[in-house]
Subunit: 448 residues, 2 copies
């Protein structure tokens, strides 16, 4: 097979180097470059310093064919990516590439300011500058045009694309203007990505069960990432490359289906979705398809489950609403939890979780109600009910109201996220009429 | 003044280079290194490749005195930071540094497995290996010991610290074992950080008003970061360096106080807090101090405000709970919003926001109730009420129930976050008895 072209990433900005701002562009770009079929070699982050920027560009293009640069295209004196690119091109090509004003970019910037009803100042005018021989890339979401330079080093083609720093400007520019160019590069083997999302099995447990699918040289190759109980299996295949690994005799697409089927079989009832969507997104989609509506009653998660559900566009189709019954008074007055249950079992108990779910289902009129009550910490734990003790209740049409106890690890934020995700997963099992005790018993460290 | 020692960061891991995982360590470490008084030159991210790791270490130590490395210390064959360090030390010092087993690290790993009730396997044993001449750093939160190597290049001291990748292991190890060493390096000028958090003024507006404080060469120097309406002004001072900038005649600490006072004066009633805390954290702290309790009634934010409040430990001291009245039925049944108001003004209106706040205050028994109803999009907008139209209501002891309309920009997630933060800020104004119409009128694009 031909060598895939290599890519590197360069993020520019004092605020990134000093840790004042988190760089999320590099992860996003690396993922896209991989899917586009390039090998990503390295990410680098350097300050707003003309010499450092130019030198990093030159060095990274020693190994990489493609360099994607982010940031430093703003209008202020600190924004030096244009100058750095000009210097780097001079070193790399042996010819000067002075900055010149791009007429079309200038008109775009003027039009942008007209659209938002403000006047353009001289600082913004510098954003229309580009090194001679490079092209300006129009920016539909901001004032900073991107820059694209293509040239050769010893007959081997090279590409530098400089994109604006804000993700909502960078991402559409990459998709529209850079991606198609990358896909046309010689040796590029674009990849397809399929996912299978699994909840309730540990990532290492799942990885052990599918270890033979996970070698990096496989085609398709499976990788896993985990976040608060949700494990995303990413099945990446290069359709134009022969299958390598356990399904060697198959066509690439058939091998992908076999890999997905293997994940289904080892993860059994724990598969959430074959789509790249959130747990709440899957729950809403399946609830709406089944004609079922949802309600929530939250104590220790304090609105987090409602928040995750309503973060999905169109959630009103299946979600009626909920209660944040943080105090005991709210639990009894609003959801009808009995004082006797609160006194004899405590607010963190299966009885109270069940009463909350019943009350929420009855009062909201929703088909399925989920409830959570627990100790998220750092205070409030006892030897009998340590921090991380969480009860999740569910009231649904098909089965009697029930609750299960969990012991989640980590800090307050982790415990709340695991609690919310587990409640959403239990909601999904209720929608699927799969609230079997056996399935839940295998999840994490479920207590009886 | 002596030159501050320079530092670089190296993150190791295929999952980082490929964009499967977001690197948050580099930002955290860069921030800490800056506060410890080092100049951060560069961040790099490289794959799990022995040769690449060693070569990156050698190159980064060409300019940097201190190199902090994260990741690649796990037990699998992919974890090659130990080997990379061994090779890099050989190149840098001209002497071999073969890997040897560290007895104390081995005992720690064995003890860790005993504590969690599992048995140690051979793979974990490799985690006790360290290059000869380097030290193993105990890890109280996982199995991977850190590594610390100190040596000289042409008489100039150098330090490489390799830390485990998981933040909950890396951070305490850095704080306990690396920070004190850095503070003792010659030429290090530790910095103090003070903050002033401001809500309701745009970052660029605020930056314009304090432009003279923001030059990077100043001491103290002020930087700003913004997140969903909250602008954090960071006042960084090196106490051992003379004051530079507008307060040149003052002592460093006095200059810091002047800078903070200047921010107070330009931001006036919009200052949230002088602490590094969230908006919800400030609200809870001030409400508790004033003996006031809080409740929430959320429509378009769907639980986000409750979530932000209850993310704070100890929030039950001031937060009673709330409602997620996503459907109109929930609004009228649970909070007593009249059908007439819903019909004549619509769910997204000042009248409904006020009725929600009144209902929530009355039913919860809390002193202050906040309500939000709006159109977060992407669907549901009209020409009269476009996406981003949000009404926020407040019912509190001192003033009649009121509501104000906002027009927030951005996508669903941005609109929800701005809505939640604005509601929390209005709650704070209510706690401070500063719900003057004038103050709110200046915020963003407030409609009457």
């Amino acid at each position: 097979m031909a060598t895939r072209p290599a890519a590197a990433l360069l993020a520019i900005g004092d605020e990134l180097v000093l840790g004042e701002k988190l760089d999320t562009n590099s992860q996003w770009l690396a993922d896209r470059l991989g899917l586009a079929g390039l090998r990503v070699l390295e990410h680098r982050t350097v300050p707003d310093d003309r010499e450092v920027i130019a030198s990093a560009m030159v060095r990274l293009l020693g190994d990489a064919h493609v360099l994607i640069v982010g940031g430093g295209l703003g209008p202020t004196a600190d924004d030096l990516t244009r100058e750095g690119l000009s210097d780097a091109l001079a070193t790399l090509t042996g010819e000067v590439h002075p900055l010149i004003e791009d007429d079309s970019a200038l008109r775009d910037i003027q039009a942008f300011f007209e659209k938002i009803g403000r006047s353009m100042n001289d600082a913004n005018r510098t954003q229309a500058m580009r090194p001679r021989g490079a092209a300006a890339i129009p920016n539909d979401h901001g004032t900073a045009p991107g820059l694209l330079a293509r040239f050769e080093i010893d007959g081997s083609p090279r590409l530098i694309a400089c994109l604006p720093g804000p993700p909502r400007e960078m991402r559409p520019m990459f998709e529209r203007d850079i991606s198609p160019i990358l896909e046309g590069l010689p040796g590029v083997q674009a990849a397809d990505l399929r996912v299978s999302q699994v909840f309730g099995l540990g990532e290492s447990e799942l990885a052990t069960r599918i270890a033979d699918l996970m070698h990096r040289e496989n085609n398709p190759a499976v990788g896993t990432t985990a976040s608060s109980g949700m494990v995303t299996c990413r099945v990446r295949v290069e359709p134009t490359r022969p299958v390598a690994g356990p399904y060697e005799s198959r066509e690439p697409q058939a091998a992908v289906e076999e890999a997905l089927a293997k994940i289904d079989s080892v993860a059994d009832g724990y598969v959430v979705s074959r789509r790249q969507e959130t747990l709440a997104g899957t729950l809403l989609r399946e609830a709406e398809a089944a004609g079922l509506s949802l309600a929530t009653a939250e104590s220790c998660t304090g609105g987090l489950i409602g928040q995750l559900i309503t973060a999905e566009a169109g959630s009103s189709a299946a979600y009626a609403g909920g209660w944040v019954t943080y105090s005991n008074g709210m639990k009894s007055r609003e959801l009808g939890v009995s004082e006797a249950d609160l006194l004899s079992h405590g607010a963190v108990s299966g009885q109270v979780a069940m009463a909350m779910a019943s009350g929420a289902r009855q009062r909201s009129g929703a088909d399925i109600a989920l409830s959570v009550t627990g100790i998220a910490g750092p205070g409030g734990g006892t030897s009998e009910k340590p921090v991380g003790t969480v009860w999740i209740g569910v009231a649904s049409p098909g089965s009697p109201v029930s609750a299960r106890g969990f012991r989640f690890m980590g800090d307050r934020s982790s415990i709340r996220l695991w609690s919310a995700n587990t409640a959403l997963f239990i909601g999904l099992l209720a929608v699927r009429s799969r609230l079997e005790v056996g399935l839940l018993r295998e999840m994490f460290s479920v207590s009886e």
